[in-house]
Symmetry: D3
Subunit: 232 residues, 6 copies
Amino acid sequence: MSDQTDRLVRNPATAADLELFRQVEECLYTAVISDSLDELGYRNQALREFIRPLSPDDRFVGWARTFSYVDIYHIPPNPYAMEIDAIDSILPGEVVVVSTAGSLQNAPWGELLSTAARARGARGAVIDGLVRDVRKIQELEFPVFARGIKPVDSKGRGTIIDYNVPIECAGARVSPGDLVFADYDGVITVPAEVLPNVIQLAMEKVEKENGSRAELLQGAYLKDVFAKYGVL
Amino acid sequence: MSDQTDRLVRNPATAADLELFRQVEECLYTAVISDSLDELGYRNQALREFIRPLSPDDRFVGWARTFSYVDIYHIPPNPYAMEIDAIDSILPGEVVVVSTAGSLQNAPWGELLSTAARARGARGAVIDGLVRDVRKIQELEFPVFARGIKPVDSKGRGTIIDYNVPIECAGARVSPGDLVFADYDGVITVPAEVLPNVIQLAMEKVEKENGSRAELLQGAYLKDVFAKYGVL
Amino acid sequence: MSDQTDRLVRNPATAADLELFRQVEECLYTAVISDSLDELGYRNQALREFIRPLSPDDRFVGWARTFSYVDIYHIPPNPYAMEIDAIDSILPGEVVVVSTAGSLQNAPWGELLSTAARARGARGAVIDGLVRDVRKIQELEFPVFARGIKPVDSKGRGTIIDYNVPIECAGARVSPGDLVFADYDGVITVPAEVLPNVIQLAMEKVEKENGSRAELLQGAYLKDVFAKYGVL
Amino acid sequence: MSDQTDRLVRNPATAADLELFRQVEECLYTAVISDSLDELGYRNQALREFIRPLSPDDRFVGWARTFSYVDIYHIPPNPYAMEIDAIDSILPGEVVVVSTAGSLQNAPWGELLSTAARARGARGAVIDGLVRDVRKIQELEFPVFARGIKPVDSKGRGTIIDYNVPIECAGARVSPGDLVFADYDGVITVPAEVLPNVIQLAMEKVEKENGSRAELLQGAYLKDVFAKYGVL
Amino acid sequence: MSDQTDRLVRNPATAADLELFRQVEECLYTAVISDSLDELGYRNQALREFIRPLSPDDRFVGWARTFSYVDIYHIPPNPYAMEIDAIDSILPGEVVVVSTAGSLQNAPWGELLSTAARARGARGAVIDGLVRDVRKIQELEFPVFARGIKPVDSKGRGTIIDYNVPIECAGARVSPGDLVFADYDGVITVPAEVLPNVIQLAMEKVEKENGSRAELLQGAYLKDVFAKYGVL
Amino acid sequence: MSDQTDRLVRNPATAADLELFRQVEECLYTAVISDSLDELGYRNQALREFIRPLSPDDRFVGWARTFSYVDIYHIPPNPYAMEIDAIDSILPGEVVVVSTAGSLQNAPWGELLSTAARARGARGAVIDGLVRDVRKIQELEFPVFARGIKPVDSKGRGTIIDYNVPIECAGARVSPGDLVFADYDGVITVPAEVLPNVIQLAMEKVEKENGSRAELLQGAYLKDVFAKYGVL
């Protein structure tokens, strides 16, 4: 429904993007990103608790490419055209973020889409809905976070209605081009306009937490540690 | 409540049954069975996403033996008579499929019933409800799919009201004698009247998916692969 | 809100306590404790099925120290004072039991509180709510049972309103000083006044189950085993 | 499932019963009964908020006759025998209390059962489930409290499994012979063993509330009124 | 998304249609229609219990014109074009049936659409979602059944994605051209292919119920009445 | 928990306030206020659909006085002190807005608090929770919007933890001093900082809607009306 020209003006990840992704994955974690977003007044950027990784070590960072699915109750003519466009135009450095209005009827993601997305350079996927072919996705080592698992196809159960538009995914607003970061604690989405600030605050907070942790491990009382480092 | 004679007219698995089970377990998976059922117009045969295996490698195929439990709020006289009959009359090649009206109060399944069912030849169990003794069930290597885990007994919490009758289990209708197939993607139930057609369609679809997967892994675009194989 | 004097009259675990904990952990399991409580008329002592261990081998026994959190929608002045008191006054042999009115907005527990609680002698924690820093909690080997995982801080999302008062945690009433026992089947809370009876009944029931299990494993019919041992 | 002899040992309402019903209906209301039950330690006697009267003036008092229904997924042989017995044996002074395990699939109550129950002397009905024929039930002036309305028959959707046994109805335990009282604020069930105490406490509390109300209506501050009457 | 030509091939109600509507409204009710559909094996034609009339006397019969809405999280360009087409092409004798995937965020229906639909000849509307302007809709005397009431606009909250396609509305499948009948007991949808059979069966059942009711009102026992008329 | 001085710095309604309330009640409705808030980017100001008036003509406008309750599971010492303060310090022109974290256990509002609040000058109340004494509240003609009805007291079920602080009430953030407006379509809360803009936009929109309505009533097509007035 959105204008096609508008929807596609995006670019593959640059070397600077890749360096940023490396830094986030190696030095940061979703919890410290969440605290930094809180400090800047962005308090609803973490996805709901029901989005979990398919494999315990799944973890990724990238730019959001959003897909919006809805449930349907008939098989429309030419059902796959827009979905194929959406997948084939994925750019290196992107992560697929799928909304389904919380559908527990449709499993819009599986092995073939994982394989195709990875071939285009996708770094992972978040599905606010069901997925299938989980064993095979795990073998691909393509990281996927999802709401649940069910062995059903999307044909006649759901359809994509738009892509690269703002969506609601598991309780948070995700816009194309947000930085999406997923680790074992969950998934967080960082709007582009605050990204540099968020990274800087997070780096600073990691240091304080390191001090606090070290003292607590040695048996210090929380009262004293909090007085010294100001983090909890 | 159903007529006892009617309820028990079933037979142990034959050699042909065992060969069919082997073929399904080795060559097929629940997702491709689901797609084949869809094609034949049977679109609600997969159980809901909240039914998950107790162990990640749990997997089984067999004929459905259904049990229907309901919640109760008192301890009836002679509470175990029908449950004992239901378990002791299980036939080799069957799988136990338990409905509880979605009870989160009662855990009707545990180690002792798993042990007794396995002794009679059961190949696995699906419980649309809670289970307990999970560590010991895992040690038995008896595959069980369930809705959740809680350490409570069924006495005074639930009772079996019938067995070998049609039930609703996790959103799907399961009838005695359906082929029930469970793997990591979930559980699917195949009505006896379409079983041969389903197996044949599934075998054909597996082949197409193999071709499609191979090309996507080599970096092909989804558009071209879909044009060639017609599967997604 | 409760009277501070009253709230703190508790003692560190004695040698007898530690011996009791060892006995429960080694010889018993939550399911047999639940059955013994049932027999004594305490039928609602198991927490709901959505409380699960962060690591599959998490398991603990100890005296309940309760914390009561509620959701908030502003940042109160001096938000951490009571929480710090509650943590720093934990006694050796206690387990932290947190209620949040089932909040899915607030993650009141994470790595720093786990570290601080362990430093005071806590043996584990049950959170009827969300937690974060899960990988680091797993590395600490501090056993935590929780409702879910989300990377958000409690600041401006929730606040402790009292501790060492009766709470409702995942559907069960937990009072300070209850014996709380958690294993893979879930969490059960034993009121102090029935603890000796419960332990004795549980020991007896374990023996009967051992006999019943042995015969079922050898292929006996459930009818005969139930007639002999009277347990199911 | 319960023993038939046991189930039917009940008696029609006596003149003393009718005088009690009149007194409760004229002088008391469910809220003051609830407070009196609280004082005696019976704190879970009010049905959940989703049970509402079909007509705003519906109101009744009587002895509980319980019916227990469950959902089914086939049409059993001779489906109505127990339901007909249950209805035809209703005694004057009873109220029908129906549990369905919270079914939103089955509407077990409608015009014909209302008519038949009234013919036997029933004073009203509470259905923890759906009902139909609502306009005609309203015309009968037979008071019915229910969870919702849907125009479907029970045949093949639900079946009675027992009657005159303890049930759970909308979150409260109801036993045969409890006094059930329903007015616009909801439904409350009073166990027989505390009935005289409850009535006496309620009568006393009504008086205090009358004093408190009178002063508040004249503009008194709550602080002063509470100091004087001790009720809120 | 469906083909426009296909979607619009419908006709205004004929004189025969109007006669049918009159007959249904005057002689029948949703419950007896539901029973007749059951008898023909169409067992899921009644909408869920949460769809209620805005005014207690709301009642209508007509041919289904379906609208399918979904939630959105941005304001698309030209958001009203398809909605205006859908409304302006309503034909005399139709009833609007709106699905929203159960949205509690969007209120897609209000006074202006009610007025416009009535101007085109619509006989009523069923909204599986929220509505607003309820007082003004009541003044119009345009009958509307809905899931709830909230004073929010659809702009930026939801959008129509198709119309005159099969939808799921409150748990039932509704196809364009179904006969939709709504009264105080709820809403039922009759597929065109069974309509004549359903009407005939319903007429016959009404007669039996009249006999049964008359005898029960005179105090007959249910057992005897059921033996005579075979309806319950 | 908040600072008492801070919490009480509020003033009784002035003559200008009363004139504003009159204007809103007579000329506006919640739907047009919601649209004006949307236009200014305040898109989450309407309470959820489950908050409904106790009487169909209930309607009010006033400044928010917030109360925050939570569920409890014991009877604290001196349970009513803060609640009495909160009620007795209500100022003329205020409306009581109660949050309970969506409790379905506690009914914190009833006849006596309604009477006391009205005596202090409250213009109405919104309870995101249960209420009791509904018939008597209706007789008082004190307008109350609530989530449901149950005849239970708050003692031992819930307690106030703070007042005149920001709360979440039925899905919307309400701060002390917001303008709260309730009519049959629901409840909307207007932050003080946008109030003048909202009133002005709403007045303008009412006029456009009057034009649009008049033409639709005369049979105009929606397309033409929308082209002319730009409202839907």
